[in-house]
């Protein structure tokens, strides 16, 4: 008998690494380094994102890396990049910080909706993958772009659920589902807009391989609690996906046997 203690699941493999956690945590917007540190521990995450910035020489700040356990994979994003060239420059700088060669490509040239530019993202992916980076591009959920990113050497595809920081959940659900159904070569990770554990579970039930969340957790009253809730929801959603969820039905179907004895056969009501 298959029990939840004997789940048959394939591991999440990205690039050259195998992950048991399917929860990627962003480190931005936490009120304190302690909140971040607690959330990392509570989440069980094995990969966190960081960004790169020019050092403020007037105001000394602790280095973020000191608050991240050494066994956690660092995924440096290219936030601030407005085109492929800027993303490539950030990635090359990141490699020299000692944070490794895992890059989340994020090319955004729109300040209102913060939508990623798929064309520039594909260009940057091609260059950086050829240079040996493990490239995880953040993208607008478009099947053609997803295919181009795979061809360009992406190690995973990261479609947005909804706009960054909105907590709106899977507004792009149908288009993410198409990518999940059609792209088998690399993992699909939903990134951006996931504002509650229920939304993360919904993404995992669809067959998404992992979820990246940041704003919701960082800005919650108790970030560590929500980080744990997300982890549990992601696990639950994965298990539901593996269970092969039954389809939605148009009309009601009884879940109890019809009583039979209450009515004569000729006037029985089938409810």
């Amino acid at each position: 008998m298959k029990t939840p203690e004997h789940i048959e699941d394939s591991p999440l493999i990205i690039g050259n690494k195998t992950f048991t956690s399917r929860f990627l945590l962003g480190t931005g917007k936490f009120k304190s380094k302690k909140d971040l540190s607690d959330a990392i521990k509570s989440s069980g995450t094995q990969m966190v994102t960081v960004a790169l910035r020019r050092i403020d020489l007037e105001h000394h700040e602790d280095n973020i890396i000191e608050y991240i356990p050494k066994d956690i994979t660092l995924l440096t994003n290219t936030s601030g990049a407005r085109n492929a060239d800027e993303a490539i420059r950030i990635a090359r700088l990141a490699k020299h910080t000692g944070c490794g060669n895992w890059i989340k490509i994020e090319v955004i040239n729109d300040t209102k909706y913060l939508l990623p530019d798929n064309n520039e993202t594909i260009k940057a992916t091609e260059v950086l993958a050829a240079e040996g980076f493990i490239v995880l591009p953040y993208m607008y959920p478009d099947l053609y772009a997803a295919r181009a990113l795979v061809k360009a050497g992406a190690a995973a595809i990261m479609p947005l659920g909804s706009c960054i920081g909105t907590n709106k959940g899977l507004k792009a659900k149908e288009f993410i589902q198409i990518i999940v159904d059609e792209i088998d070569e690399v993992p699909i990770i939903v990134d951006a807009g996931i504002g509650a554990p229920s939304q993360a579970a919904e993404a995992m039930e669809m067959g998404v391989d992992a979820v990246l969340a940041n704003t919701a957790i960082a800005t919650a009253g108790q970030p560590a609690y929500l980080a744990r809730a997300f982890a549990q929801a992601i696990e639950a959603g994965r298990l539901a996906y593996l269970s092969k969820l039954p389809p939605v039905q148009k009309t009601a179907a009884p879940s109890s046997p019809l009583t039979g004895f209450l009515y004569d056969e000729h006037n029985a009501v089938t409810n």
């Binding site: 931005g28 960004a51 790169l52 020489l57 280095n63």
Partner: protein
């Protein structure tokens, strides 16, 4: 000597190399990457990279981000 450091023009009189410049301005140089006139300079090259008047230097490090 005038160096354009992290977007600001600054005066340094006792700086010879990139290593000197970083040591004078940064407490902890772990996880720092240096770019000089648009070229990334590896950590092992900092002591050999001489600073000239008008050089443009960027010092960058990881920060929190999503």
């Amino acid at each position: 000597m005038n160096v354009h450091l992290n977007g600001k023009s600054r005066q340094f009189d006792d700086v010879k190399t990139l290593y000197d410049l970083i040591r004078q301005n940064i407490k902890n140089s772990a996880f720092i990457v240096a770019e000089m006139n648009g070229e990334i300079i590896g950590r092992d090259q900092w002591p050999n990279k001489f600073i000239n008047d008008g050089d443009k230097v960027e010092l960058v490090s990881p920060v929190a981000g999503g």
